[in-house]
Symmetry: D3
């Protein structure tokens, strides 16, 4: 099977890390494609960045449909464009926040999220509500690291994140940690070893879950709001992306 990981952040070093994490968890017969769109923000750190990332991200899903892609992972913790992507994909589409938070729910009765900037905390909290894990999510914590800092100085970033995870375990009454940025994928294993509790990276969780859904013969429902978009004219810059 072929799973396409789309990192809507257009920082390619981050995409490479994400691809490596996905490949490490994928089963033997699974091909992992890890890409960044041709269009989009270098990093995604707010509502505006998210909205602007959708065009490129959705184009990668559209291309995937003719590349024989079986499932997609959107590798940004705000899960931008998720519902839209499901309209145009036949196979499952998973967001990394959704997959990480649901996976954590199998492993502990409470988890905390450790993310990058404070301003993205609200985005994660809205997803906590959307995905119905308010009862499990003890707290969403920021460590005031810009996404780019994860690329620039991984070692410093690791120490900052580790410290925040330790505070989470000490103060939040949680039994697991969810990493709140796809760019932390390469730190997951070390953090889990250091902390002694499950540390869930969404890229890994989403890739493994996408495989699981495919193996179970499950695809996106085409009955209801995930049916293909109604054909219509689009105008201006988005004209080439009109549903046919």
């Amino acid at each position: 099977m072929r799973i396409k990981i789309i990192n809507p952040n257009t920082t390619l070093s981050m995409t490479a890390k994400i691809g490596a994490a996905a490949r490490a968890v994928a089963g033997p017969g699974t091909e992992v494609l890890a890409v960044s769109p041709a269009s989009g923000p270098a990093t995604i750190e707010g509502h505006y960045d998210e909205a602007m990332a959708c065009l490129g991200l959705l184009e990668e899903v559209r291309k995937g449909e003719s590349e024989g892609v079986d499932a997609y992972v959107i590798a940004c913790f705000g899960d931008p464009g998720l519902d839209a992507a499901r309209e145009i994909a036949r196979g499952p589409v998973l967001g990394v926040a959704e997959a990480a938070m649901r996976s954590a729910s199998y492993l502990a009765t409470g988890f905390s999220v450790v993310t990058t900037l404070q301003r993205t905390v609200v985005i994660a909290e809205h997803l906590v509500d959307k995905y119905g894990v308010r009862g499990q999510c003890r707290r969403v914590r920021a460590c005031e690291l810009p996404v780019a800092a994860l690329e620039d100085d991984g070692a410093a970033a690791y120490q900052t994140i580790l410290a925040e995870c330790q505070r989470a375990l000490a103060e939040d009454g949680c039994g697991a940690i969810v990493l709140g940025c796809a760019g932390m994928a390469d730190l997951c294993e070390r953090l889990q070893a250091a902390l002694g509790v499950p540390v869930i990276d969404g890229v890994v969780a989403a890739t493994a879950t996408a495989e699981a859904l495919l193996r179970a013969g499950l695809r996106t429902s085409k009955r209801g709001d995930y049916a293909p978009p109604r054909p219509k004219a689009y105008k201006g810059l988005v004209c080439p992306f009109a549903p046919g």
Copy 2:
């Protein structure tokens, strides 16, 4: 004061109707600009259309900031791009669904939403949860009218919508109707007269509320996640829209 109504549907006859509804409610000193973006879907009828509408819509907000616009209304019942728009606007930005549902809450302990296609019902229901009106919203009803039908044959559309509103009053235990599409703005007054209960059109509600917020001296908070986007590079098609 200057209020810009952005209809992210790029069907100009719809924009004209919306502008007329907004102007009719605006106070004497208020200038209403009603526009459709240069880029976007002819009509918005699903998650994908919404995502694709954001780019043009946000560009209109960005332009508005240099046009002396004091407040914005996003005239599509899914409230696409609302949080993103608030990051780049100084003044208030209102979605029509948000304004309509909150306005209805002042007038009745229960309202029903009457919208276009069944596939958009989920979008409205998610907004019901987001805006905390689950206790007031008795039901979201579709009348299986495509958005374009509101333009093509207004008379037929009126009858279909009226019938659905009557079913809502008979079956849902509601005391008010919220119109679930900005393209119904021109039908609001007639429906209210025919039904004898408050009928709330979001364009009217949002325009009037935006004026109210401005008169109260209130602007979008720039502390937290509505602070201006962090400056960064954007790539490809969205490159011109990078936050400066």
Copy 3:
């Protein structure tokens, strides 16, 4: 249009302040009546005071109906008698807590309420649930000021409230402040200037929103539980207030 602001606290200096705040926000063609009922507590600081305030408050609504009043504002943060008032009014009736909290929701993804006494915090929290803003309201904070202190020594009160607002911004992750007492109406502008975030006073928010609803042609629904009370006999002291 004519809007009647009813301050159920029978402290007239407070009513004067409230009237001034309402007049400052009202549009040119709007007449603001600001009154305290003939009957009621000097200040409202608990469930009992609220219940005892209703009789006088509702009588002011009843009189308003024959005075050509178009809309009403109940100027006490517990929104006492709100549903009852809507039964006997044709036009919109707004509570200041309701209007303030809903207005704040347009401006920030999170707000905190700063109110007077700790014992009224529960009242505000119940309204947070009733109005569906649990997801936006980060915290309700008391500064242990009796309502009368707002009249007696405004300068000291201002400092106390300012300090609590600053704690809210520092600790609660909120982007806006809602003032939890109508008697703080005169401090709103100074607080907003000092804090640099939206500070929402309910008197201002409710007056402006009432005007907006009127301009939008919206009135209280008379279908359902806001229909006029059923005619019946009342006994004893309340006999003169029986619905006719």
Copy 4:
């Protein structure tokens, strides 16, 4: 022990029925006082009636404190004035809706409420939320009986209520019925015999629960918002009821 049942409806035949129901359930050493206030609506069928009932009702609590009353029951399904009454009572104060709905929760995983007029359904639904029984309450049903009809023609009322209860059992998936008006107290036993499921009358449930709390040595907390009202001046008609 001495329990005072206050029927805020000032229809004395109803108070007599309520008193009989309370006495039938009370233990041997318990004295039941059943009264209607000197002031208030003949029947309570809406928000306005409720608000107007509070003055008389609270006066009965105030008098009770000097009559050696140990606990109070507010015998109207909207539980008017409940929080206010708790401020001025030392012993427990129970509303019949609260007691009925909580008692039902011990006996079935789902119950339906059968009440009088459709316009009071919203009042009951708000209490369902306030008391946290949304998960248990399958539906609130009206049988369009005015409260007075329960007094005027008990036999006809019985048949109407029975039929609605049967519909509830057939359609709602409930295992118990809560009677939504204190004036139905005399029908409870017959309905339970006819229906074969628990039928909970609030007067009976509240009286029995009040006794239980007293026997357990429990009183209203005087820490927090149920502390006695702060002393202050009251003006006009309510002047005699000012907290001392």
Copy 5:
């Protein structure tokens, strides 16, 4: 009437204390049986202990049905086996957590729970949600006392619990305390005297409430999921417990 208190902890000194507390609250005509099952954990301190306690506990209910028992109390704060017990009992079955938390809701708008070990906090929090008291329960607090410590050194345990209750009152904004372990039943009265707020022990609350329900003529609904279990074969160790 005959009420059977089943302490699923098989520590008999604890059962004796529990029986004494129940007898002290029971009315004159009420016989209290206090037992521990023949089978089960010495103390219950987690999900596994709870699951393992059910067999013995349910057997005591089954025996009760032929002993003329009118109502049951499950005396362990996790309310293990409650729904199952209701299937096989004719009379009411009450859990101590359920009864304590609902009783507290009549007395204060907020309570905190003080329980034994941190690992049982999640169990109590799940019950807070199940019983719909999330709005009332300010916090669940552990004092890191194993259940056995309540038996071994009551004086030390008392001091530890008292201190935690005091912290709850100081920090949680609560007006009442719920004791989170049936083994604290003997400390309730002293704690209440020391703290000056209602302190609710579940054994006392459940016994008194069971009596109240019986006096009100109420039994477990046999319509729906509390109907007797369907007859069927059981295998192995549980074979003797198959529903007949």
Copy 6:
């Protein structure tokens, strides 16, 4: 890896079907053990059956720990004993209801559950709340088939279930079906083909998800309430199952 599927129903033909479904979805390197406990009900159709199933079920987990089992699936839609099992297992433990409902959430914005007997509907609804999928679960439907009927006459059962699924799609506004009994595992593929929407069987979903978690290097958290049970004495029949 080695995954143990425990069917707590002790009907071996059902266990065989469940094992086949699990093996069909498992990856090449995965060994599936499918067992029924030595002790337990022939079928599980209520709270009592569930409680009585736990002993045997948990013993199978305990044995699994010394058999090198990496993950467990509890193959009964009520997810009995799930939290208890997680205390004694090192690897992930998944309930079929949990896995099915979470998997459905990736594929459609709304699903309906089709289960066996009406009396088990409440059990499923409680899980809907526990797992936070109230927003996705449109309805839980029973088709009044006893579990044994799935074994006795599969063809008739298929028709009954198919008809109920068709009603769900026609009436509930759902885009996917969750099968509400592990004994329906063999019908899943045919139903999905017939209905044209995702049909999720929990055995398949849980087995695939368990593999995914293992491949992602995730295990049950041992910090908090899933830590191993505290060592203590057990009495009577459960004595051999005491935590060591």
